[in-house]
Amino acid sequence: MIVADQLNKHFKIYETKKGFIGSFASLLSTKHHIVKAVNDISFTIEKGEFVGYIGPNGAGKSTTIKMLSGILHPTNGRIEVGGISPQKRRKEVAKKIGIVFGQRTQLWWDLPLRDSFDILKEMYKVPDAKYQRFLKLYDDMLQIGKFMDTPVRKLSLGQRMRGDLAAAMIHDPDILFLDEPTIGLDVNAKTSIRAFLKELNTNEKKTILLTTHDMDDIEQLCSRVIVINHGQIVLDGTLEELRKNIGLPSLMEIQYREKPDVSEVKLTGIEKMKWEDEKLVILYDRSVLSSPSLLQNVTQWGEPLDIQMKEPDIEEVIQKIY
C-alpha cells in the first residue's frame, strides 16, 4: 500500500537577513549548511496495517509524512502510495489518502462544519447518496451531528479534531496519514478518537500511519511501530519488540541530602540508573517493579529531599536509548 525506498530529504539552510537588500543578498548567497531531515529511510506498509511512526521532535516524522502525501519532494529515493508516485501524480494520490494534522485544521475556519464538508464533497466529487451515508455513519461514530452548524473557530479542540477526522474520510480514502491527532486533547476526547481509529482499521480495513507523542496511542492502536531518530529508522517491528528494545520505562528522579553510592544496587525491573547533576535518574519497568516498592528501596539508600515520577515519554526514552 505504501512503499518508501531509500528515501532522503536534505534541506539546505541558507542564512537569511532582514530587509530588501538582505533578502536579495540571501537569494544570491551560497552560505548554507545541509540538514538531513530524512536519511535513507525504507519501509513497506501493507493494506490494513496500523503503523505508529514515532521519534523525538525533529526526527523527521513530519517530513516523511509530507513526502508520502506529495507535499514535499524527496531529495532522492522512491515513494509509492497505492501504487502511484505522489511526486509525479499528486492529485491522484490525494484522492486515495486522508490527512489529519493535529496542529493545524484543514477545515474552513469561519464557516460552519457542514459547509466545510459540502466544499470537500464537491472537491472530491463524492456522489450525493454516498455523502448522505457518510454523514450518517460519521455522526454515529464521532457524534459530529451536534455541532455541524457551528463555525469551526467556535468548536472545542476535541470537537474540531473529530470534525477534521471526519473531513479526512469524506472521500472514503484507503490510506490515512495522521500527524499527532491526539495532541492537546483531554482523556475523554482521546478515548473517543482512539475508538474511532480502531474501528476504521478493523472494520473498514483502512491502512493507517500515525505519528504521536502519546505512548497510549501506540499501545492501544498500533500493530507495528517504526521508530526514527536523526532521520534514520532505529527500529521497525511489533510493539513487543519495541518494549524489548527500549522497555518503555517509567522514570523516577530522586534528589538526596547526601549522594549515596548506588553502584552496587541490583534490583530486577530497573533498566537504567544514572546521576544527572545532583539527581539520581532511574528508568524502570512498572510491570516488573511497582512504583511503591521502588520508592521503598529508594528511601533505604539515603535521605531523599525530593522525588519526582514521570510517565514514559517517547521522545525522552528514545533519546536516552539511541
Partner: protein, 261 residues
C-alpha cells in the same frame, strides 16, 4: 465550476463575518485612490500636458493601469499575500487536495474592499473618453479595445504577482519585492512611457512588461504612432508572460520546503 462557486461563496461568507472590518477597509481604500487621482489631475491642470499627452489621454493610461491592478488585488489577494503561506506553513494544506494549489488560492478569498479602486478607474476612463471628443470611428475602436487592454493588464499584473509570490518558495518573504515588481511599475504605467529614460523603458517593455497593457495600444488608438501591431501585442505579451509565470510557479512548488511540524 460548481466547486469554484462553492469555494468563492464560502470565502465571501467567511469575509462577511467581519462586517466592520470590511466596511472600514473599503471606504479607506476608496478614499486613498480618489485623493491619488485628484493630485494627478491637479498637476496636469497646471502643466496642461505631459510630453504631448493631455489630461484625458493620460486619464486613459491611468484608468487602464489602475483597473488592472485593482482587479488583481480583488481576485489575487491570496497570491498577493502569499508569504503568509510560507511563513506559517499553510501551503501544506493546499497540496493535500486533488485540485491545483493555484485554483485553491484564487478561490480562497476575494478582497472586495479593492472594488472601490476598480470603479474609480472605470469612472476615470469614462470621463477621459468623453473629454477626448473623438470621431465616431476612433471612439468605437477605443471602446471596443478597452476590455482587451484591461484583460491584458490584469493578466500581466497577475503574472507579476505570481512570479513574485513564487520567489517566496526560496526567500519566504516577498513584501519587499512587491514594491519593485508591482507597485512601482504600475504607478509608472499611469503615465506615458515616453517620459521615462530609455533604461526604464527597456525594463517596462521586457522583464516587467507593464508598458504593453496601456501605452502600446493607446499610442496607436490616439493616432500618436505605431501600427496595427500595437493592438496585437498586448494580448500576445500577456499570454506569453502568463505562461512563463505559471511555469515558474510549477518549478517553485517543487522547491517548497514547508515548515517544521
Amino acid at each position: 465550476m460548481s466547486l469554484y462557486l462553492k469555494l468563492i461563496s464560502g470565502s465571501l461568507r467567511s469575509r462577511m463575518q467581519y462586517k466592520m472590518n470590511f466596511l472600514v477597509s473599503s471606504i479607506s481604500y476608496g478614499l486613498i485612490m480618489a485623493v491619488d487621482f485628484v493630485l494627478l489631475a491637479a498637476i496636469l491642470q497646471r502643466f496642461n500636458d505631459v510630453k504631448g499627452w493631455n489630461l484625458y489621454e493620460v486619464g486613459l493610461l491611468y484608468g487602464i493601469s489602475s483597473v488592472a491592478i485593482t482587479l488583481y488585488r480583488v481576485f489575487g489577494v491570496e497570491i498577493h499575500n502569499f508569504e503568509r503561506y510560507m511563513v506559517e506553513g499553510d501551503f501544506d494544506s493546499l497540496l493535500i487536495r486533488p485540485v491545483s494549489p493555484l485554483s485553491l488560492l484564487l478561490t480562497k478569498n476575494l478582497d472586495l474592499s479593492r472594488i472601490g479602486g476598480t470603479i474609480q478607474g472605470i469612472l476615470i476612463l469614462a470621463i477621459s473618453i468623453f473629454g477626448l471628443n473623438l470621431k465616431n470611428f476612433e471612439l468605437f475602436l477605443l471602446v471596443l479595445y478597452l476590455p482587451i487592454s484591461i484583460i491584458s493588464g490584469v493578466a500581466i499584473c497577475f503574472s507579476l504577482g505570481l512570479l513574485t509570490a513564487t520567489i517566496a518558495f526560496w526567500t519566504q518573504r516577498i513584501k519587499d519585492f512587491q514594491t519593485f515588481t508591482l507597485y512601482a511599475p504600475f504607478n509608472a504605467a499611469n503615465y506615458p512611457m515616453n517620459i521615462y529614460p530609455s533604461w526604464l523603458k527597456l525594463i517596462f517593455f521586457t522583464v516587467i512588461p507593464v508598458g504593453f497593457m496601456n501605452y502600446t495600444p493607446i499610442l496607436f488608438l490616439l493616432d500618436k504612432g505605431g501600427s496595427l501591431w500595437n493592438l496585437a501585442l498586448p494580448p500576445a505579451v500577456a499570454t506569453i508572460f502568463l505562461f512563463l509565470a505559471l511555469r515558474f510557479w510549477q518549478f517553485g512548488i517543487r522547491h517548497y520546503h514547508s515548515t517544521g511540524s
